[in-house]
């Protein structure tokens, strides 16, 4: 909310400032419905041609506990959920105390004065931040009646925010109606009453009111969803019709979505007895003729690794989703971390090369799911799609995909063939092709798929020569894929002092750090790498333009003093100028943190 320049004031009323973006943090308890307010704000931004990004924390307790939802709305480009909030909406004492330091100096805090007494606020806070006390709980009860003090106060608070930021009320009314229309029309009515009461509350004491400049994504139909939703729908668009999984946070949303949606398309998703059964079932369905999906988060991926190794050996197409969380072991189930890169790339016994792709935004989750399916089919290989807790749960608005063009038919072809050798060493493209059971082979020689080293028909062999040839075949097809991968584009000038390399959800904050550094006169650029394994070729040529290459990732520097992706890049390009910028506090990158680390490493 930096450009508060164009302000207007009318007799006795607060000033109205034109802004191009705002970061709003809502803090309460997990049962208060604060995610719902955040969701409404995000959806409104999507419908107002704006960009939006959210960030949330949820306690890993079964019910209750402090929770926050941060939403950053911008009329222009939004790359991260924002370092500091412009506004804090605090429902309780503890929300106020715990989150006041996330507010920028001079920012506004709206607090529920039924919970936090104005006299309890330390004087030094009053000089540092602007305070607005509103008896949210009692005014909500007044507006909608009843004794359910916690029910409806989120919607009341949404009304307050709508007044504060001059949000589009008819659009919000419609969103509320869409959300609450269902069994009982009274519920929608009550929600509207709560909203209107909040909106009509006299904010005469507010220090400042705001108005967003028009959004820049003019004329663009936008959809608003979370990363997990985008990934699930991407798999459906790709033509996946079978999946299997086991519940684990934060992956479960995807399996719930696929279980609910796939039957409409003639497909199914199976909840299995364990992680191993789910990967095995998905592989079985893939052999049945149509690439299937399984997924999990860290601990579950560890359990699946033996079966993924089989898929590498048998060269079976498969998509495995890993929604990373803090590890090792049960770790920090509801926090963000990018520490599964090693298990995704190397997690398997024996030499088991596989494809690893990491989407960076919610929109990218949708398209990467389709890519994963197509790479799995084209190269007959398992593909691991690595996202993280942050990207999985955050909400973004993006251009509505052209579904008619994108949605593909990958139904299997069982036409009879004259003869078939899946592991044909002389195949012109060097890639294994499977025929599904049900396919007649006129020669009468049928293939077997196996985890044993095998000959061209899949029958076991102990031949050293064949093991060498087949190992090379499994490696070379992915080198062929590497040659087809697009070379990533440098964000900023192609030469300079520092190149920040990011993967996954670190892209946004890294690019924002580049903007900030360049504004301060530093020669910093960024390179985002989506294809983790195999890596695209010729990255070293890009590195040549920079004195330093810092790999920004959310994991520990480890025993070798460099993060997991940093280690992978060092193995490929043994260059000491590649160093790591890592952290593992379970939170997303703040732009400031990246800038500080650059300063420390280049001092």
């Amino acid at each position: 909310m930096s450009d508060a320049a164009e302000a207007t004031s009318a007799g006795g009323q607060p000033t109205v400032s034109k802004i191009s973006e705002a970061v709003i943090r809502i803090a309460g308890n997990s049962q208060d419905g604060i995610q719902a307010i955040g969701g409404f704000l995000a959806r409104l931004a999507g419908r107002s041609e704006q960009e939006v990004m959210t960030f949330m924390t949820i306690p890993s307790t079964i019910s209750g506990g402090p929770s926050i939802f941060q939403v950053r709305i911008g009329s222009g480009e939004v790359l991260s959920a924002g370092d500091d909030a412009d506004m804090l909406l605090a429902f309780y004492d503890h929300s106020y105390t715990a989150h006041l330091n996330s507010l920028r100096k001079g920012g506004i805090v709206i607090y529920d004065s039924d919970h936090l007494k104005p006299e309890a606020i330390p004087v030094e806070n009053l000089t540092k931040y602007r305070h607005v006390g509103v008896p949210i709980s009692s005014l909500t009860v007044e507006a909608i009646g009843g004794t359910g003090r916690d029910k409806g106060k989120n919607v009341y608070a949404l009304g307050l925010l709508a007044r504060m930021f001059d949000l589009n009320v008819p659009k919000l009314h419609r969103l509320l109606q869409e959300r609450f229309t269902g069994k009982d029309p009274k519920i929608a009515e009550t929600a509207l009453n709560a909203f209107n009461a909040g909106y009509n509350y006299t904010l005469a004491t507010a220090p400042e009111l705001f108005q967003f400049k028009p959004g820049e994504n003019v004329g663009q139909a936008q959809v608003v969803m979370s990363g997990n939703e985008a990934l699930g729908y991407g798999l459906i668009a790709a033509g996946v019709r079978f999946g299997a999984g086991y519940p684990i946070t934060p992956w479960s949303d995807i399996m719930e979505l696929l279980r609910r949606e796939l039957p409409k398309y003639g497909g199914q998703f199976q909840q299995c007895e364990d992680e191993i059964a789910s990967v095995s079932m998905a592989i079985g369905a893939s052999w049945g003729g149509r690439v299937a999906v399984t997924g999990s988060s860290g601990p579950g991926i560890a359990l699946k690794t033996e079966a993924i190794g089989w898929a590498v050996m048998a060269e079976m197409p498969l998509v495995v989703v890993d929604v990373q969380r803090g590890g090792p072991s049960t770790g920090m189930p509801t926090n963000i971390e990018q520490s599964d890169l090693n298990i995704a790339v190397y997690g398997g016994h024996g030499d088991s090369p596989r494809v690893v792709i990491a989407p960076s935004t919610v929109e990218d989750c949708f398209y990467s799911a389709i890519e994963a399916v197509n790479i799995a089919r084209k190269y007959s290989t398992p593909v691991i799609l690595v996202t993280d807790q942050g990207i999985a749960t955050r909400i973004e608005a993006f251009k509505e995909p052209d579904l008619q063009k994108i949605v593909q038919d990958i139904s299997p072809d069982f036409s009879a063939v004259t003869e078939h050798k899946p592991y044909d060493l002389s195949a012109p493209d060097g890639v294994t092709r499977h025929i599904a059971p049900g396919t007649r082979v006129a020669s009468g020689k049928y293939p077997v798929v196996t985890g044993l080293e095998h000959d061209e028909l899949g029958h076991p062999t102990g031949s050293p020569k064949l093991h060498i040839q087949m190992t090379a075949k499994r490696r070379n097809k992915l080198k062929k894929l590497a040659a087809e991968l697009p070379t990533p584009v440098v964000y900023g000038p192609a030469e300079g002092q520092v190149l920040l390399v990011s993967w996954g959800s670190a892209q946004g904050p890294t690019q924002e750090a580049v903007k900030a550094a360049r504004a301060a006169g530093k020669a910093v650029s960024a390179l985002h790498i989506k294809y983790i394994s195999p890596l695209p070729n010729d990255l070293d040529k890009i590195f040549e333009g920079f004195s330093n290459v810092f790999v920004v990732e959310l994991n520990d520097e480890g025993l070798n003093g460099i993060g997991q992706f940093g280690g992978l890049l060092r193995a490929r390009y043994p260059d000491r100028k590649i160093r790591g910028i890592t952290k593992c506090d379970g939170l997303t990158w703040k732009v400031r943190e990246i800038l500080d680390r650059i300063a420390a490493l280049t001092a």
């Binding site: 059964a277 095995s280 299937a292 790479i375 299997p412």
Partner: protein
């Protein structure tokens, strides 16, 4: 944000480019497959192993039931008996240890046109894969699971198996096993299997009859076939072999196979126990239930292309 660069755009449906298409066969062109046509690699089993008999009877079943070559689907895990798919000239999968059932379930559920046969041993079924045995049975996934039970780990050369009897001396229990063995029949009944049968590799006609009934059962069918390991546990099932002085006692005619408790009691003593169909009931299969869910959901979007169904979801997210 703009639409992403999209290097791996739509691929054609059939990408098994190594294969040359051939005209389909009419039903009239079909002849019963001969043993020669359905046998592949020479089995790696030891001479005298009971598994040879099971393989021969699988061939006989294929011939007798005039199964189409391409529809024969054989899946196995790891173990001596799990080498099975290599010896059958048909579509086969040799999966990892203990996980043949979930793999086969993936095939069965996504390909209702196929009947999947799963072959394995007692280690695969009741030790490493015990969890899957329970859940595949309870969900009543339509497939046939033939467990060639030799009461010992043979491929790894004589360790105690989950069905080794008390006192069995192996390399891991030189003083004799003290762990209560699994009773596969009781396990199957408790887990919710809808077809449970027993046979012995020494009685070929009986094996064939059991496999045939299992194949015809609409649901999860389980057949335990005693199959002697001549190398590490010779004589294990002599008491069920009349040629060795034992008794091959069939399930009494008066036994009600639909009576779960009577079947459980019938399985009390498996040394040598009774042979035949012990328990059989009908319950909706997982395959049928999923089919119904799909039919119900598709009725609501009848006439819409997949992209139009997805578009409806996206319209709600604007």
């Amino acid at each position: 944000m703009s639409e992403m660069a999209f290097p791996f755009a739509v691929l054609p449906r059939g990408i098994n480019t190594n294969a040359t298409p051939v005209a389909p066969l009419t039903e009239a062109d079909r002849k019963p497959l001969t043993k020669k046509e359905v046998s592949a690699d020479h089995p790696t089993w030891c001479p005298g192993c009971g598994d040879f008999s099971v393989l021969a009877l699988y061939f006989k079943l294929i011939e007798k039931r005039r199964m189409h070559h391409e529809k024969i689907t054989t899946v196995a895990g790891i173990g001596c008996s799990s080498r099975f798919p290599y010896f059958v000239q048909a579509h086969g999968a040799h999966f990892i240890h203990g996980r043949a059932l979930p793999f086969a379930s993936g095939v069965s559920l996504s390909r209702p046109d196929l009947h999947v046969f799963v072959f394995g041993g007692d280690g695969d079924a009741f030790s490493i894969g015990g969890n899957h045995f329970t859940h595949t049975a309870r969900k009543n996934v339509k497939l046939t699971y033939v467990v060639m039970d030799n009461n010992v780990y043979g491929l790894t050369k004589n360790q105690t198996s989950p069905t080794s009897p008390l006192g069995y001396k192996s390399k891991t229990d030189a003083w004799g096993s003290k762990d209560r063995p699994v009773n596969p029949i009781k396990q199957a009944i408790c887990a919710g299997a809808t077809f449970v049968a027993r046979s012995s590799s020494t009685n070929p006609n009986h094996v064939l009859a059991m496999m045939e009934q299992a194949m015809d059962h609409d649901g999860f069918s389980f057949v335990q076939i005693l199959s002697e390991c001549v190398e590490f546990y010779p004589g294990a099932f002599d008491n069920a072999n009349p040629r060795k002085g034992g008794v091959f006692a069939e399930v009494p005619k008066e036994h009600d196979v639909t009576d779960e408790y009577a079947s459980y009691r019938l399985a009390e003593d498996l040394s040598p126990g009774k042979f035949g169909v012990i328990y059989k009931t009908t319950r909706p299969t997982k395959n049928a239930n999923e089919g119904q869910i799909i039919a119900d959901h598709q009725a609501k979007v009848a006439g819409l292309e997949p992209w139009q169904i997805l578009k409806k979801n996206f319209d709600r997210m604007k």
